[in-house]
């Protein structure tokens, strides 16, 4: 989306531009909690949050991707209903499902870091970075379910990973496609 012919000769500094885009992505992640698409292959309604986590990491890269997710988390702490299902407040982060939210921040960081470090931007490498990010989200999510929810590992995976896999793989494919075709 860069390189559009601009009518004026104002060239916004890229840092400021990325900052605004990071805010936009944080808002989209929040909106993603409300976009529910029913899919026949998965019993859980698919929400779009994690798609924007992938996109933030792979398009905004390390610094702004991480900040984007940090802002998203802070919005939730500030009481806007931005977490899945319209939850909000610091209690969610400390609660059983808070691991996923911490996972979002770390995943965006790792996806951004990998794509900056390796530098390739084709479909498969993007899918690989995003896949690693997805594993991080799952790992942290399950970790908190086990620690805080006092579930055992198998139960936590059944509740917190398995139902989401089909939808998440689909979003991974979409995100990798977008990230390899467009850049901010």
């Amino acid at each position: 989306m860069e390189g559009k012919n601009k009518t004026g000769n104002i060239a916004p500094s890229s840092e400021l531009r990325k900052m605004v885009f990071a805010s936009l992505f944080a808002a989209m992640t929040a909106a993603g909690a409300y976009i529910r698409i029913p899919l026949p292959i998965s019993p859980v309604p698919v929400t779009m949050q994690i798609l924007f986590v992938f996109l933030a990491g792979s398009m905004l890269k390390r610094k702004w991707g991480t900040l984007c997710m940090l802002v998203y988390t802070l919005l939730g702490i500030a009481g806007l209903p931005v977490f899945a299902g319209g939850a909000s407040g610091p209690g969610v982060i400390l609660g059983p499902t808070g691991g996923y939210i911490i996972g979002f921040i770390l995943a965006a960081f790792v996806i951004g870091y990998l794509s900056e470090k390796i530098g390739k931007n084709d479909y498969l490498s993007n899918a690989l970075y995003i896949g690693i990010g997805l594993v991080i989200v799952y790992a942290l999510g399950v970790n908190q379910l086990v620690l805080v929810g006092k579930l055992d590992l198998l139960q936590a995976i059944t509740l917190g990973v398995l139902p989401f896999i089909p939808g998440d793989l689909l979003k991974l494919a979409v995100a990798a496609h977008i990230a390899s075709r467009y850049r901010i």
């Binding site: 900052m19 900040l67 500030a78 969610v92 400390l94 006092k150 509740l159």
Partner: protein, 257 residues
């Protein structure tokens, strides 16, 4: 967006008048207490403290209870899991799944804990405007070495306010575009993939354009993130120190008992 979108309730109670930083600190402190508590007596005390604060704030209890709803499924699942899988004295001997007294105790304790975490947080968001909380978070983050991340606490606060503005316009655009495409004969049930594209592409295009516009507007107004002033300047009043003192006393007493 459901109408719970903004969890703020207008009011002029003691809780509403406190500095957002005081309230943020109080929620953090109380959350730690909730997390450490292992006995029902302690939970009872924390619940009564919550009810006392609710009484002071003048917010209806049913309004606060709504904040638990999104996580109810998880809490219920964890309760059932503890009830049936903890080993101990059985309540009723069943062949496959045996509910135990120990499980009931642990399950109830965990459910109470998660519920209280959400409720104390709901009390914060019911008595404080999001912009005030943003201000409070900004002020609390200011001493942290955010330079290493390459931003200032002001940048973070600006990003939060930008997101708060972007969110409703994004949802509004989504509704408008959906209606426009439906009017042109789009049938989501007929072809889901094409339907999603027909909505997502103009939606993202519009959002990106508006982000570009905001960037130019900020650039031409010389945005800088070093030192910014705010509409609501935060000032700790005597009331805030008194509230923190009461909270500290309550925590100490609580930990000592």
């Amino acid at each position: 967006m459901p109408e719970t979108a903004f969890n703020y309730v207008y009011g002029d109670s003691l809780l509403h008048r406190l500095d957002p930083r005081t309230k943020l600190a109080a929620v953090m402190c109380l959350s730690i207490l909730v997390f450490r508590e292992e006995s029902f007596a302690g939970m009872g005390l924390l619940i009564s403290f919550f009810l006392l604060l609710t009484g002071i704030s003048g917010v209806r209890l049913s309004f606060l209870l709504r904040s638990v709803r999104p996580l109810l499924f998880f809490i219920f699942f964890i309760f059932c899991f503890q009830l049936f899988s903890t080993k101990g004295t059985p309540i009723i001997p069943l062949p496959v799944l045996t509910p135990t007294y120990e499980g009931l105790r642990l399950g109830a304790l965990l459910s109470l804990r998660f519920g209280l975490l959400l409720l104390y947080a709901a009390l914060l968001t019911a008595s404080t405007l999001p912009s005030q909380i943003t201000n409070g978070i900004e002020r609390l983050l200011r001493p942290l070495p955010l330079r290493h991340l390459g931003v200032t606490s002001f940048d973070l606060a600006t990003m939060m306010s930008l997101s708060i503005r972007f969110l409703p316009s994004f949802l509004e655009n989504a509704a408008t575009i959906r209606a426009a495409q439906l009017a042109r004969g789009l049938d989501l049930r007929h072809d889901l993939r094409r339907g999603i594209t027909a909505i997502a592409v103009p939606l993202i295009k519009r959002s990106v354009l508006s982000a570009e516009e905001v960037t130019e507007a900020m650039e031409s107004r010389c945005y800088q993130g070093q030192c910014r002033t705010s509409l609501h300047e935060l000032r700790m009043q005597k009331l805030d120190w008194a509230a923190l003192l009461v909270l500290g006393a309550f925590s100490l007493l609580f930990l000592a008992v």
